[in-house]
C-alpha cells in the first residue's frame, strides 16, 4: 500500500484477493474451463435430451457424427449423453467428498491447535492415518461394505454414500495439519488476547476470530480436495470397484471403454479427457488461489 491509497476508499481483503487472482492467467483459464464443464454437466442433460441408457443397436460402435458428437458404444448408446450424465456424478462425488474432508480437517486442525490437551492425541491420529495404505484400504472397504450399503440405501445412493464417505475420511490429514499450524500461530496474536480479555468464550473465539483467519489454507485445500476426490473416485471406478456400469461416472465409462479399445478408441478418450481437464483446471485454480492468498506476493 502506497500513500495514495490513503485517499481511496477502503476495500475488502477479498476484493484484493480477487484482483490478484485475476492476474494469474492459468488460474483464470482454469476457472473458465471448470465453470464451462460444470455448466455443461448441470445443464447438458436438459439441452442434449438423448437418454444415455437408450439402446439403439443399429447405431452401435459409431464414430463421432452430428447425431452422436462423441460416437456410440457397443449397444448404440450415445456417449456424449453418458459423459454428461457421468460428469454429474463425478463432480458431485468430488464436491461432497471435498466438503466432508474439509469439515473433518478443519475441525481436527482447529481442535488440535486450539486446545493443548487435544493436540497430542489428535496429531498422533493424523500421523496414523497418514501411515495407512489408502488405495488398498479403500478397495478393501468397498469390497466388504458395498453389498450391505446397497441393500440399505438402494444401488445408487448406497454406493454414492460409501464412496463419498470413504474418500472424505481418508483425505483430511493434510488440511488438519495446515490448519493446526495456522491456529497455533494465530493463538499467540494480540487480537486473540484482546478478545480473550473481554471475555469471549472458546466457542465464539473459534467461530468469530480463528476460523475466518484460517479460511485461506482451507480454500486452497478445497481445490486440492476436489481434484483428489475426482481422481480417487475415477481410479476406484476404473478398477471396477466404484460405481456400477448402469450408473456410470467418468472413471467407469473409461473402464468400460478399455474393453473396446481396438474397435472404438474414442470411447476411452472422452471420459479420460473430461477427468483430466477437470482436474487440470481445478489444480490451476488452486495454484492461482495460493498465489492470491499469499500476502507476500500481493502487490
Amino acid at each position: 500500500m502506497s500513500e495514495t491509497s490513503l485517499n481511496t476508499p477502503p476495500h475488502s481483503k477479498w476484493l484484493d484477493i480477487w484482483q490478484q487472482f485475476r492476474s494469474h492467467k492459468g488460474a483464470m483459464l482454469g476457472m473458465a474451463v471448470f465453470v464451462l464443464i460444470t455448466l455443461m454437466v448441470i445443464l447438458g442433460p436438459i439441452l442434449w435430451d438423448l437418454d444415455p441408457s437408450k439402446i439403439d443397436i443399429r447405431a452401435k460402435n459409431q464414430g463421432p457424427s452430428w447425431a452422436h458428437p462423441m460416437g456410440t458404444d457397443q449397444l448404440g448408446r450415445d456417449t456424449f449423453a453418458a459423459v454428461l450424465q457421468g460428469g454429474r456424478v463425478s463432480l458431485l462425488v468430488g464436491v461432497v467428498a471435498m466438503l466432508l474432508s474439509l469439515f473433518l480437517g478443519a475441525l481436527i486442525g482447529v481442535l488440535a491447535g486450539f486446545f493443548k490437551r487435544l493436540d497430542g492425541p489428535l496429531m498422533r491420529l493424523t500421523d496414523l492415518f497418514l501411515a495407512l495404505p489408502l488405495l488398498p484400504l479403500l478397495l478393501v472397504i468397498i469390497m466388504l461394505w458395498r453389498d450391505t450399503l446397497r441393500a440399505a440405501f438402494g444401488a445408487e445412493t448406497g454406493i454414492f454414500l460409501l464412496i463419498v464417505f470413504i474418500i472424505g475420511i481418508t483425505s483430511w490429514m493434510q488440511t488438519a495439519r495446515i490448519v493446526r499450524g495456522d491456529v497455533l500461530a494465530l493463538k499467540e496474536r494480540e487480537f486473540v488476547l484482546a478478545a480473550r480479555s473481554v471475555g469471549t468464550s472458546n466457542r465464539m473465539m473459534i467461530l468469530r476470530h480463528i476460523l475466518p483467519n484460517v479460511m485461506s489454507p482451507i480454500m486452497v485445500s478445497a481445490t486440492l480436495g476436489i481434484a483428489n476426490a475426482i481422481i480417487t473416485e475415477s481410479a476406484l471406478s476404473f478398477l471396477g470397484l466404484g460405481f456400477p456400469s448402469d450408473f456410470p461416472t467418468w472413471g467407469r465409462l473409461l473402464f468400460d471403454g478399455t474393453n473396446y479399445m481396438t474397435l472404438t478408441p474414442w470411447r476411452v478418450l472422452w471420459p479420460g479427457l473430461a477427468i483430466s481437464l477437470t482436474v487440470l483446471s481445478v489444480n490451476y485454480i488452486g495454484d492461482g488461489l495460493r498465489d492470491a492468498l499469499d500476502p507476500r506476493l500481493r502487490r
Binding site: L128, P133, L135, L137, L139, L239, V268, D287
Partner: protein, 336 residues
C-alpha cells in the same frame, strides 16, 4: 543419531501393531461371509465346518494374536530357513494361507515381487533421473520458456491420472502404431538380443507412464528447492570468490537443494507401490498390485490383509528412512 534411530525403530513397533490391528478389525467386522460364494446346496453344518477350517471358529482377539504369530514369527522363520538352509524347530509351522489358492501368501508375494520391482522400481529411477535436471534447469532459468513448458508439463503430469495416460498410450502406440505390446508378458525370458529388445519394448509403456507421474512431482520439488538455495548468501560468496557458474550451480547449489528432494523421494517410494496398482492393472503386469486386486475380487481375506499390511510397513519404514536421511545429509538438523 544412533540413539535417535534406535528410538524411532522401537517406536515403529507399536505403530505397526496398531495399524495391523485396524486392518484386521476392518476386514473382520465387515458384514460378509467367506462361504457366501459357495453353492447354496451345501448344508449349514458343512458350511460351519468350512468356516472352522478357514480358522474362523475362534473369537476375534485369539484370531488376531494367531495372525500376529503367523505373520511376525512363523513367516520370518520360514524365510530364514529358506535362505540359510537351517532347520529351526520341527519346521511345521502354521502359515498365512490364501483362501483361494491354498498356498502360503508369502510364496504368492515372492512370485509377484520381481515384476513389480522391475517395472515400478525402474520407472521410479527413470522418473527421478528425468526430474532432477528439469528441476535444476527450470529453477536456474526461472520464467524462461523452458520453465514455463516444464511447469505446464508437470501440471499435466500430476493432473492426468495414470489410468488415462496408460490407456491413451495403449490406444496410440499399440492399437494405432503397433510399436509396443499392450500386455506385459511375465513368462517371457531374456535369453538373447531379440528377447532382450522385446523385454524393453514391453516395459517401455508402463515405465514411461509411471516415470512421467513421478517426474512431474519431483521436478516441482527440485525446482522449488533450487530456487530457495539460489538466493542464499553462500551462493553470492561462491560467485564472489570466482568460482565458475557451473561449479556454483552444480556443486554448491545442487548438493544443498537435493537434501529435501532426497527425503521426498524416500517418502514417495511406498506411494509408488500403491499407484502401481492402477498401472499394473492397465498394462496387465501381474505384480503385487494385480495380486491385491485379484485377492479383493475373490474376497481372499488373508491375502488382502497381508498385502495391505505390507504396504503399511513400507510407508512407516520409508517415513523413518526419510527422517534419518534428513539428519544424515543436513548437518543443521540434529536429532537429540
Amino acid at each position: 543419531m544412533f540413539n535417535y534411530t534406535l528410538r524411532r525403530l522401537i517406536f515403529t513397533v507399536p505403530v505397526l501393531l496398531f495399524i495391523s490391528f485396524i486392518i484386521f478389525l476392518l476386514l473382520d467386522l465387515a458384514p460378509n461371509d467367506p462361504t457366501g460364494n459357495l453353492p447354496m446346496t451345501i448344508p449349514p453344518e458343512v458350511r460351519e465346518k468350512i468356516r472352522v477350517s478357514l480358522g474362523l471358529g475362534e473369537p476375534i482377539h485369539i484370531r488376531y494374536l494367531l495372525w500376529c504369530k503367523q505373520f511376525f514369527i512363523n513367516e520370518p522363520l520360514n524365510i530364514l530357513e529358506q535362505v540359510t538352509g537351517w532347520t529351526i524347530g520341527d519346521g511345521e509351522r502354521l502359515r498365512v494361507r490364501s483362501w483361494s489358492t491354498r498356498s502360503p501368501v508369502v510364496d504368492l508375494i515372492v512370485e509377484r515381487l520381481p515384476q513389480t520391482l522391475w517395472v515400478v522400481g525402474l520407472s521410479y529411477v527413470v522418473g527421478i533421473l528425468i526430474a532432477v535436471p528439469i528441476g535444476v534447469l527450470s529453477a536456474y532459468r526461472q520464467y524462461s520458456w523452458f520453465d514455463q513448458i516444464g511447469t505446464f508439463i508437470s501440471m499435466i503430469g500430476f493432473s492426468v491420472p495414470t489410468f488415462f495416460t496408460g490407456v491413451l498410450m495403449i490406444v496410440v502406440f499399440s492399437v494405432g502404431l503397433g510399436w509396443f505390446p499392450s500386455i506385459y508378458d511375465t513368462t517371457h525370458e531374456v535369453t538373447n538380443w531379440e528377447s532382450f529388445i522385446y523385454q524393453l519394448r514391453q516395459m517401455a509403456m508402463p515405465v514411461f507412464v509411471l516415470a512421467l507421474y513421478t517426474a512431474a512431482q519431483i521436478s516441482r520439488f527440485m525446482r522449488a528447492s533450487m530456487l530457495d538455495n539460489l538466493n542464499q548468501d553462500y551462493v553470492r560468496t561462491a560467485r564472489a570468490k570466482g568460482l565458475t557458474e557451473k561449479t556454483v550451480v552444480l556443486v554448491h547449489v545442487l548438493r544443498n537443494s537435493l537434501i529435501p528432494v532426497v527425503t521426498v523421494i524416500a517418502l514417495g517410494v511406498p506411494q509408488v507401490f500403491g499407484g502401481a496398482i492402477i498401472t499394473e492393472q492397465v498394462f496387465k503386469v501381474n505384480g503385487l498390485g494385480q495380486l491385491l486386486i485379484t485377492g479383493i475380487q475373490g474376497a481372499d481375506i488373508p491375502l488382502v490383509q497381508t498385502l495391505t499390511f505390507i504396504f503399511a510397513v513400507l510407508i512407516v519404514l520409508f517415513n523413518l528412512v526419510a527422517d534419518i536421511l534428513y539428519g544424515l545429509l543436513d548437518p543443521r538438523v540434529r536429532y537429540e
